[in-house]
Each structure stands twice: as structure tokens, then as C-alpha cells.
Symmetry: C2
Subunit: 400 residues, 2 copies
């Protein structure tokens, strides 16, 4: 087997996660083992660091420092929202050619996979032998092909724990509570709000995801029904919920919303959607105590809230990526296949199968118009891990 | 020594905390040991449960169930925002008289201490021998006399961890980030945002607490200065910040704000304040990426985020309360005295020394107009405990 000799570059794209640095360190540790990979460079601030030739020489990082970094949430190299077009990618490949970079590992979501795809195609076109591997990462869990995405389990663990407490908080001081969860196109993270429910009366009582059309009138009816039955109501809601015309609900409440370079609307980092829905409940249902928390950036990489499986798999996809590139001389996107309850293996899928589209919650994970099916719990349980025990008082009422 | 024979009632008031059930279980466990305390009743939903005679007989709860409840965040008995006046308190004492309740333990903040005070005075007035003990609890850490309040350490641990991550998130994808932290009158919790800072460039770079007048123009200048120096800026801000006329900033942005039964403005559970300040930054400083998370209810009782010292002390104040009432035959509020680094003891302070007023951050814990002094870190460190390790990459830049 031939061994392509040259440097490796690793970069992190898109939003941080709690375990993205495990993948980074997996790449670095494994790449440093191969003599024909001469250096491992970390591109600072994602693909932008490649264009600017802004690299850290990770060949010289100590193993102990790397292990500490692996356990650190957020993107240690820095990230970017740049979405490279063909020209941008051509310039990156030119940098690689000039400096003898033969391996590129890009940790990110489907936009990062698309960047990999364009670079791969361009390198082939100009006849430059370049290994390009996309390493999956997204709290949204919306990549195609793979069973699930590193980063999701830990974020879902945050959301699960959060709703366990918020439901108890809402029980202690009743009212309506809305928790707005990240998720532009898909409801995977919002669905995980149900994972700590044990009793039929436990919240969240209503779950709204982008896979279902959101109708404000029906939403208000739902809240009124739950509230009149239980005297309280906990709602979990994706920030990306859309109305029947396909427009994000946020755009209805805030028409002048900021767009990012991908043409996506800014959903996180403000409370508009939840506040608007709270106001509707107060005004139209005359319920007095209505509270809303928009989880925002807390949920995606919280220090101390990680899932063991997620940590382990995030490391694995980084290490495996290097093996696919070096031992197997292949390009593609690393994917996870579930082989048992619970075990996985890793395989390489063509970049074009992951780039561009996202994977919605399948219909079998949805239940009615505003609930999540048991099958989702079976799917998500090992990814989230066991959350700390909590319990209610078991004692008889006093009869006078 | 005489032993007053009768029943005990325990109740939880105000907002939940991560460790309030430790105090509850401390009371129940300890009270069940004394033969002259014939039953231990838990009032459901705070003082309201006393009026409605809505009690659980905790004498009959199993020890194992109680230990599970102790480890559970939020208020297991339920809580209330009722603020009893003299008539309300008189009716509660009448319930106690009728059913032979001789011990009342109320876990809460200064409003709960005031309720205890009114009940104590009324019971003396009508000649009913009643032990009334207030057990301190508040994430705000704003009770007088005591060195600190159970519930604060765990909430502060959440805020510390949150800002550690949010600062790394902001480093990874630069811009301005504002984190809005609970704290109506005092900035103790917001101050704890600095606890994970290690390097001078670490955020939060700007901290605004209710103890300092907030001026929007100066705030914008501060943000502009930090942003132009660092290319990014992380802000920690108390929800209760006030302008020079003494009015909460939130009221400026949202004049129709809801009032609670205490006449307090609803500060948590919506994103208005942070969103308004974000808009000012975008509009007036022309900074594009401005994000704000209002931490809301997540921070006060998050499953899995607790401080060891806080857990231990919350149990202690509950157990000690029973001893003060039973062995020492005294009424008052349990307080914590710091005796070393780190050790504490517990004492009883008269109810009137804790009721009504709150304790602001002392001037020596504040630094300039928008920072927190080192002395605060020394004070808060043992209460928060050690947070998980995190680190940056240590590797040289590549020079071409």
C-alpha cells in the first residue's frame, strides 16, 4: 500500500459542541503516529485560517495539553461561519499545494461536508492528490447517513436535564413555561426534552418541532387544554418552527431578522420567538404566570454536561478519519452505524451523501401533533446516558 | 430542659434551588428523631398549604425516599409566591393551634423570614407556644447576617461554568455576547461569572450589577472599547440593573411589565432586557454579531450542577434548625459563620435581623465601574467548588 507523504491540516467549522475537541485531538494524536504525515497543522478559525495561512503547529503540542483540550468544550481552534464557494476552495487547495498539505480533516456539519466535497472535486480537477475527510459534528443531529452525530448526545443531555428541572420548577410554582431549544430545520434536540419524563403528568406536555407545521391557534388550544387539566403546562419548542406557508415563526414576529452568510436567519441569541408566544398566551388565554427561557448558547457546549458515549464516539470519529485517509487512502465523511444495544462501528460515506441536505426526525419518532414517540427514547437513551437520579416525595396526605 | 411536645410543620417558600430539598430532608430526618415531635408534616405549596391544611405526613416517608428527594433539585413540597400579611399569619397560627403544631420550619429567603417574624410575634401575642425557625435559602445570596446562603453555591457554579463555555464560544466565533443573570437587587450571582477567568483576556470582560448605576451610553462605550481591543466582548449583566433614577432598566424597555404579589417586577422568564441592549449595540456601534442569552430558570436548580459545600451546608441548616428549636427552645433564623478556609459553624440570629432588607455586594468586592475584585473570588471559591478542568491549545504558530 502506498503512503501519501505530506502535511495534514485539521479545522473546526460551524457551532461549537461539548465534544468537538475530542474529534480534533483524535485527529492530531492519530496523525502524529504516522511517519509519512510530516506535520499536523491546526487551522485557526476554520477554513478562514487556511486562506490566511493562520495555523498552529499541533505536531509540537504536548500530549498532556491535547488531552486537556479534548476534555474542553467549544472549538479550541476557533471556528467560522464562512461558507466557501468554488473560488474560496480553489484558493485553499492552492495553499495546500504550495505547502505540501496532503491531508485535510474538517470537523463540522453538512455545510462543512459541502466544503470538503468542493475541495475534493477541485483537487481532482487540478490533479492534486489530496485526502479530504469530513468528520461529523453537530448538536442538531441532522446529518444524513450516520445514525447520529457527535455533539448531539451531550447537548441532548443538557436539554434532558434542563427539562427535568424546569418541569419540577413549574410543578413547584405552577404556570405556563416555554423552553425554546436550538434546531433550525430539525427537532432532534427538542425531542430529547422528553427523555426524563417518567409519569404521564410529567412535562414537557407539549413539544413542537420544525417537522410539523406550527399553527398559533392550535398551539393556544393545546396550552389551554393542558393548563385546564393540570393547572400547569410545560412546552418544548424548536427555534426553527415554521408556519403552514413554510416561513419560520420567528420571521412572523420579527420581520427584520438578521441573515447569516448562508442566508440563514439568526434564530438563537435572542428571546423574540418565546416572548411573542408568551404574550399570546397571556393576552388570549388570560393565564397570568407565563415564563419563557430561550436556551441559546448554554445548551451547545456546557462545561460538565457531557455524555460518556458522545465523548467516546467524538474521539473515535477523529481517530478513524485519519485511518480512512492514511491506511485506506480514501476520501469521504465518517459515519456511525449502530450495530447493537449499544454498540457502533464507523464507516466512510461519499461526501456527496452528507453535504447539502439534512435529516429530519422520521415520522415514527413523532406522536400526534405535539408529542414524541417511545421509539425516539429507545434511539436516544444510549446517546444521552444516565442522568442523575431525582425523585418526588412519597408520603400520604394528612387527613384531619 | 423542657421539651415542647407537638407536631412539626415544614414548608418551602420562594424560588426553587438545587439544594433546597437537602434542607427539607435535614429538617424531617432530625425532627423524626425526637419522641416529643409527634409528627412531621410537609405543607404543600408553601404557606398556602398551611391555610388549606394541605399537608403530607412526612413521618411516614421512607428514609430512602427522603434521601432521593434530598438529591433532587427544585422544591419537592411545592412553593408559593404568597406574601402573608398579619391576617394570613394569624390564620396559620390558628391552624397550628387547632392541630397541635408546636414547631414551624420555613425554608426561604428574606420574605420567608418576614413571614416567620410575623407568625412568631402573633403567636406570642395570643400566648401560643410556637417554635418558629427560618432556614436560609436563596440563589441570590442576599440575606443579612449569614456569610452566605444555601442555594447560592450551586447556582453560582452554574453561572461560572456557563460563562467559562460562553467565553470559549465567543472566542471561537467572535462577536458580542451578553449573558443576563438572575439577581433583582444584588449582583452576587452575576459576580460569580468571573470565577473561571484565568487569563486577562478571558471573559466576561464587562460585569454590571444592581449595586452600580447602569448607564446605557457608558455601557456602549465600554463594549466598544473591549470590542475594538479584543475583537470580541462578553458581558455579564444582572437582570435587576437600575438606571440613575433608581428605575430597573427593564422597565425602561418594557413599561407594561408584570408585577408579582410582592409588587416586584417580573424580571426572569423573558428576553426583553438583553434583546433591547443587543439592539442598542447593533444599531449604535454597528457591530454585526451580537448575541444574548437570558439564563432564566435554568440557572437556579439545574440537575447535575451542584456544589459539594452547598449540598452539605443546605443539609446542615435544616438539621441545625431542628436542634435550635428542640434542644435550645429558641426561635430565629439559622445563619452561617465562616470560621476558616474553609470551615463554618451555624448560629441562630433573631428573625428581625434577616427579614425585610437584603445584603448588597459590599464595595470591596466591586472593582471600577464594571468589574469584580479578587477578594470576591476568595470569598466565593469554596462555595462554588472546583469546576471541571478546561484548557486552551498550547502550540506555536506556523511560520512560513
Amino acid at each position: 500500500m502506498r503512503h501519501l507523504k505530506g502535511k495534514a491540516v485539521v479545522a473546526q467549522g460551524g457551532g461549537p459542541t461539548a465534544v468537538i475537541n475530542q474529534s480534533l485531538v483524535g485527529v492530531v494524536m492519530e496523525a502524529r503516529k504516522w511517519p509519512f504525515i510530516t506535520n499536523v497543522y491546526g487551522a485557526r478559525f476554520g477554513v478562514r485560517g487556511i486562506l490566511k495561512k493562520d495555523f498552529l503547529d499541533l505536531t509540537l503540542a504536548t500530549t498532556h495539553n491535547l488531552e486537556m483540550v479534548a476534555a474542553t468544550p467549544s472549538s479550541a481552534l476557533g471556528s467560522t461561519r464562512d461558507k466557501p464557494d468554488e473560488e474560496y476552495c480553489a484558493r485553499m487547495v492552492a495553499v495546500f499545494q504550495k505547502h505540501g498539505v496532503r491531508y485535510f480533516f474538517y470537523i463540522g456539519g453538512n455545510d462543512s461536508a459541502e466544503t470538503c466535497l468542493i475541495m475534493d472535486e477541485y483537487a481532482q480537477q487540478v490533479g492534486y492528490d489530496l485526502r479530504v475527510i469530513h468528520i461529523p459534528k453537530t448538536i442538531d443531529n441532522d446529518l444524513l447517513v450516520t445514525d447520529h452525530c457527535p455533539g448531539f448526545g451531550s447537548a441532548a443531555r443538557f436539554v434532558t436535564s434542563a427539562f427535568a428541572c424546569l418541569d419540577m420548577d413549574n410543578y413547584a410554582i405552577p404556570g405556563v413555561f416555554i423552553g425554546v431549544v436550538m434546531g433550525r430545520n430539525t427537532g432532534w434536540l427538542t425531542a430529547s426534552s422528553v427523555m426524563a419524563r417518567r409519569d404521564p403528568k410529567d412535562g414537557p406536555h407539549l413539544i413542537y418541532v420544525p417537522e410539523r407545521v406550527f399553527d398559533t391557534d392550535r398551539f393556544l388550544d393545546d396550552v389551554e387544554n393542558v393548563f385546564s387539566q393540570n393547572g400547569r403546562c410545560v412546552v418544548a419548542l424548536s427555534e426553527g418552527i415554521v408556519s403552514s406557508d413554510g416561513m419560520p415563526m420567528l420571521a412572523k414576529f420579527q420581520p427584520e431578522t438578521e441573515l447569516d452568510p448562508f442566508g440563514n436567519m439568526q434564530l438563537s441569541g435572542r428571546g423574540t420567538l418565546g416572548d411573542a408566544l408568551s404574550d399570546q398566551i397571556k393576552q388570549r388565554l388570560k393565564i397570568k404566570r407565563v415564563r419563557c427561557d430561550t436556551f441559546g448558547y448554554l445548551q451547545r457546549s456546557f462545561l460538565g454536561i457531557t455524555s460518556e458515549v458522545d465523548i467516546s464516539e467524538a474521539r473515535d470519529v477523529g481517530e478513524t478519519a485519519v485511518h480512512f485517509a492514511s491506511s485506506h487512502d480514501q476520501n469521504g465523511s465518517v459515519a456511525i452505524r449502530r450495530t447493537g444495544d449499544y454498540s457502533v462501528d464507523y464507516f466512510l460515506t461519499p461526501l456527496e451523501t452528507v453535504a447539502r441536505d439534512t435529516k429530519p426526525l422520521p415520522p415514527e419518532y413523532l406522536k400526534g401533533s405535539h408529542d414524541i414517540a417511545e421509539s425516539f427514547r429507545y434511539y436516544a437513551r444510549p446517546l444521552i446516558g444516565t442522568i442523575p437520579h431525582f425523585d418526588r416525595i412519597i408520603a400520604p396526605p394528612v387527613v384531619f
